[in-house]
Subunit: 172 residues, 4 copies
């Protein structure tokens, strides 16, 4: 809560939040990250130094165990920097990946906050900017551990899941 | 961090964040609150039950000791509900009001988070939605106490001030 | 150019301009029209009385001769009202449909202006609002005939085509 | 109506449409033009080559006869380029200036279209982008002469005035 600069790492893995529309073929797909242009440059972050680390660009329905291990490994590498981590991830298997990280990295040194969106960034009614804004703040304020932050609510792992009917997350 | 509904109270006092443009006389002024229409209805808040409590509608440069006491008194009344409180306030004297509340309400039972904006809600480059989003989450996550939340940074009272050159807040 | 109220008819047929995102299945598809909520309610039209006539809701790549005849027939019916007509249509076969109407309705009594978009309405960088705004004005200003209006340019039929590389239309 | 590039000149004179908010002093004033960044870069104009010519930056309530003569003179100079002209102007005295030009420049070689806005560009509910989009197209489509284009309606001079109660223009 001081006014020194705080480093934060954002690991991007794809998901609805990062899907973009290609006007030439009409497809809506994951193709790299656009969080800098679409969200971060529109925020005011005078005390936050963000490094974006693009790891993969996948619809989370198509992620497998190798992908989840790759994400856990990437988080572990970045933990050595001792700064909070935000992970952008598809909502459909976000809780699976977060739970995998929670189990395989038992003593995290920093807060690791997963988030995503129901509607891609850059759409009128998107929840992406809200979720990213909240995840960045949550990552700074929370104790070390694994969390999902979504729709102004923070859930500590384990026992978090997507509620598909409501289009949000819940603990159980 | 559960999935039960969380009550939050927003006390509005005016400030740049709430200034609106009147197209018939061309003035940009405080005239009541529009946080519901301009910000809250555009957010996804499935677990947050917000009560907006409009107290006054003033440019904070024109607030005096009576106004600050009125704000402190309003906060004290709402504390009985045992839920987090967000206060929308002009930036020019926000730290004065927050410090006044910090001194006159020494044992707050809830987190009280002041925020505002450099540019009014409803303008293209406004920081209002970002600041409100962050203040709502901060109010839920923080321990009881008085805070200013601004630009993805949380400052615990006392010893917080506006930095006019940078257009943000800082601790000292 | 007077200040009496001007009736305008908008016939919607689908196309990219009208595709919407379903956050529950992640699909981007034509499913009815949302031009009222997404565009018309955000415009100021004190002298324009718009009737939206939803005819079909198809990606224009999947339109066939029956669809084109149905559109021509719908235009013919509406011509009896003696007011300008705007047709929302997918870009891929817009010039085919417009040319079909141009040939089968040789003596139009009103201006019939086709338009669409490269990016669906409701996306950050969408050209939908611009194209609709222009088509409405063009329909009022132009002499009876068939036109495609796109990206602040009006093309009189025949001999208009989409330029796929440039993502716009051109005459030839 | 071809696909060759069309030159258009935009003369800016100030007015509500060009007022900008200064977050450091809280003022909403005319200070230069921002039409390129705020409107033109967000439009698709593949066939339009726009030159922005900033003439003055005044609330039109404070314009006097010298200003109106200066605007007429600037229009006359640009007419030699033989391309359509759009003039951004405050709404309060727009019809006075347009009428002055209509009278002092009796045989215009091009269409000269005045427009402005009730709410400055860059505000959520601004009519600026709509009015500029329409004025650009109207300037291309209309016969030589002086016009006010506002809210999807074109008024040929003379006998046009602002209707302050309705917040738009009308002929009389």
């Amino acid at each position: 809560m001081s006014t020194s600069i705080q480093d934060v790492i954002i690991i991007t893995t794809g998901g609805t939040i990062e899907k973009t529309y290609d006007e030439f073929d009409g497809s809506l797909q994951n193709r790299g990250t656009s969080i800098k242009n679409r969200i971060l440059t529109k925020m005011r972050l005078p005390y936050t130094n963000i490094s974006v680390s693009p790891l993969m660009s996948k619809d989370s329905l198509f992620m497998d165990d190798v992908d989840r291990e790759s994400i856990a490994s990437c988080i572990q590498d970045h933990m050595s920097h001792n700064c909070p981590i935000v992970v952008l991830h598809g909502t459909d298997t976000m809780s699976l990946t977060a739970e995998h990280c929670y189990k395989t990295l038992p003593a995290p040194k920093v807060a690791v906050v997963f988030t995503g969106a129901m509607i891609p960034m850059g759409f009128d009614d998107s929840d992406a900017a809200q979720n990213v804004t909240e995840a960045l703040l949550a990552a700074k304020l929370l104790a070390p551990g694994f969390y999902i932050s979504f729709h102004n609510q923070v859930f500590a792992l384990p026992n978090v899941r997507k509620n598909k009917e409501k289009g949000t997350f819940e603990s159980y």
